[in-house]
């Protein structure tokens, strides 16, 4: 089993076989998580600190549960309420925490590249839980695992990603991961929500959702941030829902067994029809949440193994 990385900062640095290694391990943790006794000891004795410079409920909870199931001592730091407010720089915060000898640092930050910067200054393993609009690797990995379990494979699928791609780190990590695994990608959204240079991404771009969804195997919806709803990027919520909201009618052109995904939290009636989101035959949204814990357990396990090997070597 090879996963030669000190940190998990993005999908960009991972090779296809490393992604498979991680997903295979995550499969075993998904099984473990369904047992009455959910404990394993991969992280026993290790300290995991979750540093979230940006609000998060689900991702933070997912990382916390993952760490606890593997036996780590988990601590959550709400960075918005802390010394950052007092003017401490990111690097000073990192150095302060580093002095407490954490082993795993889970970081979310509103600025792209901030987690990379922090990782350069600490001597523990760093997991990127989302940096600006750059990457959110564990989300892409949990999406990949969900797809693999639902479709039986993670290659040669036709996958549509719809919505606010320009501002989405989830979309970037997914585009990279699904591209590396040799899938056919379609991006759907209004031009204001598509990133610049998109023609060089090796994807197909659609402004018309029905056209874009034709015969796809997977539909990934993205969350539309509240602050982008009014006038700036789209004219209104209702026009957006009309053109880019996923409902049964639009989904009808996809393959009959196409699955529907959403990273959450959902805006029902903005980007996705509520009934569709709850349809257990189409929606795998709850599976995504479940796989999230499994993937994070696998990621921390692999990084902890490398950490222990490095320390033994010293």
């Amino acid at each position: 089993m090879t996963f030669p990385h000190r940190h998990l900062l993005g999908i960009e640095a991972l090779r296809p076989e490393e992604i498979n290694t991680l997903l295979d391990l995550a499969d075993t943790y998904a099984a473990l998580s369904r047992q009455p006794d959910k404990h394993a000891d991969a992280l026993t004795g290790l300290t995991q600190i979750n540093m979230f410079f940006e609000n998060s409920t689900r991702t933070q909870a997912s990382f916390e549960i993952a760490g606890k199931r593997l036996g780590a001592d988990v601590m959550n730091m709400a960075m918005q309420a802390s010394s950052v407010k007092k003017g401490e720089t990111l690097i000073d915060t990192a150095l302060t925490l580093n002095a407490m000898h954490p082993d795993l640092l889970v970081v979310r930050h509103p600025h792209s590249g901030a987690v990379d910067l922090l990782a350069q200054k600490v001597n523990c393993a760093v997991l990127n839980a989302g940096d600006g609009r750059h990457e959110h690797p564990t989300q892409a990995l949990l999406d990949a695992l969900t797809i693999r379990r639902a479709k039986g494979r993670l290659h040669r699928l036709s996958i549509a990603i719809c919505g606010d791609i320009a501002h989405s780190r989830v979309a970037r990590s997914n585009i990279m991961l699904l591209g590396k695994m040799e899938n056919r990608l379609r991006l759907i959204g209004p031009p204001t929500l598509l990133p610049s240079g998109i023609s060089e991404f090796g994807v197909e771009v659609f402004e018309d959702m029905t056209e874009g969804l034709r015969d796809v195997d997977v539909v990934m919806m993205l969350r539309l941030q509240k602050e982008r709803m009014d006038g700036g990027f789209i004219p209104s919520e209702r026009e957006y829902y009309h053109r880019y909201g996923l409902d049964a009618e639009k989904l009808a052109v996809a393959k009959p067994d196409a699955i529907v995904m959403h990273p959450g939290p959902m805006n029902r009636g903005v980007e996705i029809d509520g009934t569709l989101a709850d349809d257990i035959n189409r929606s795998v949204i709850q599976d995504q949440v479940e796989m999230g814990v499994a993937v994070r357990m696998a990621a921390m396990d692999l990084l902890a193994r490398n950490l222990r090997l490095t320390r033994e070597a010293q």
Partner: protein, 425 residues
């Protein structure tokens, strides 16, 4: 004053566009005679050993952080850096804290500069008070106090009424206005140039079109007012056609670019290296080559260092939050040699853009090798290789994107009015 003969050099003459073997005789701070190769006149001689002798660089747009942030750069440290970089005239920016927008501040700065810097310093003043874009500064008084040009630096005067009046008033006095062509609405919040790279890195980005839009607007106002106008940095191909048209139409317009936009591109930012964060942001390779071509053709008149010192604290931040700008007084010449070695721009053309044109634009006698010109000279070896180490820079701030780079081309000696202000040991 004493005499000096610089002999057996290769003379880089931007006026004639030639490189020829020979020397110059300097007396009372001026070039008084051209010496044939091999001549050894009486009096003190420096044998240049067939290295290259060129007019000293006239660098428009140097930020020295006095008043306000002397810890980032003082006239002393900037002057030493300039001397070591072959820059014999620094034309300094008014984007200090407070801004240089009154004759009193200007006098303070001029006095500091004369005390501390071993090279010539000319000072620019703000175009509007506090660089706030609302009221014009005392352009007349400031000219009397020695301001050579008026600029709000990287701030765009967005109110076209205010800007057009400032241009008109400046026109009446014959003052040169330097502006930063950029549409501030389109470029708001941007940290990179839009495109695949910025999208992959998740950085807020601006289309190069914002520069073209800013230039289009400024050209219209220059046509309206007849002002003397210089665009500080033209960095993208899209801005070149309107610039060419404006020049062809006879407007009093010149344009500059920065050495970084000529030698680096957006991909150099790599993993969020904040020393590569500039304003405007680095462009793609096609733009870089188009700009180099425009310098070669003369469409772009001037190359500047856009020397912008930033301390470690303002750069050790996530890319979006980090300050923009790079120091470049000492790296301007070696970086320019990259263009020479890549066969993009030859030496006389480089010196036309780094010395002759800026001097002409400011009405200075320097920037040339002709008889009677001030003996502001740089002796350099375009081939000498070295590993750039930012810790060795003389600037108080060492935010150079060339740290660790293999460079070629070193300054051997710098003369200001015939006096040696730097000699490489």
């Amino acid at each position: 004053m004493t005499e000096l003969n610089l002999i057996n050099a290769r003379l880089v003459d931007p006026e004639t566009g030639t490189v020829s073997k020979g020397g110059v005789r300097v007396k009372d701070g001026r070039i008084v005679e051209h010496l044939p190769y091999g001549a050894r006149p009486s009096g003190p001689c420096v044998d240049c050993d067939l290295k290259y002798l060129a007019p000293g660089i006239v660098d428009i747009g140097v930020k020295v952080c006095e008043p306000g942030e002397r810890h980032k750069e003082s006239y002393g440290s900037a002057g030493l850096a300039a001397a070591a970089g072959g820059v014999t005239t620094m034309v300094t920016r008014p984007d200090t804290t407070p801004a240089i927008d009154s004759p009193e501040t200007l006098e303070f700065v001029t006095r500091r500069a004369n005390e501390a810097a071993p090279v010539n310093v000319l000072v620019m003043a703000a175009l509007t008070k506090g660089r706030a874009g609302r009221e014009m500064t005392e352009i007349g008084f400031l000219m009397d106090a020695g301001a050579v040009a008026f600029t709000d630096c990287d701030r765009v005067v967005t109110d076209t009424k205010v800007f057009s009046r400032a241009l008109s008033y400046a026109q009446g006095l014959g003052a040169l206005v330097i502006a930063h062509p950029q549409d501030p609405g389109l470029s708001r919040g941007a940290a990179a140039t839009s495109g695949k790279f910025a999208s992959l890195r998740g950085l807020p980005a601006v289309s190069p079109m914002a520069e073209r839009m800013g230039l289009d607007r400024d050209i219209a106002l220059v046509e309206m007012t007849g002002a003397r106008y210089h665009a500080d940095q033209i960095t993208c191909a899209r801005a070149l056609p309107p610039l060419a048209r404006a020049k062809a139409n006879g407007l009093d317009i010149t344009a500059g670019t920065s050495i970084h936009h000529l030698t680096l591109n957006a991909l150099d930012v790599a993993d969020y290296r904040t020393f590569f964060k500039l304003k405007p942001p680095l462009r793609d390779e096609q733009d870089r080559l188009a700009i180099a071509d425009a310098v070669k053709s003369g469409l772009i008149d001037i190359i500047s260092s856009m020397h912008t010192p930033q301390d470690e604290e303002s750069k050790r931040l996530p890319f979006e939050e980090a300050a923009s700008g790079a120091v470049a007084l000492e790296t301007l010449l070696p970086a320019a040699m990259q263009l020479y070695h890549a066969d993009l721009i030859d030496l006389p053309t480089l010196w036309r853009a780094m010395a002759l044109n800026p001097a002409k634009r400011l009405g200075l006698e320097s920037g040339r090798l002709s008889i009677g010109a001030p003996a502001d000279l740089v002796l350099f070896d375009p081939d000498a290789p070295f590993l750039m180490d930012r810790a060795a820079l003389r600037s108080k701030s060492q935010n150079t994107p060339f740290d660790g780079a293999r460079m070629q081309g070193r300054v051997l000696a710098t003369y200001v009015a015939g006096r040696c202000v730097y000699e490489r040991s």
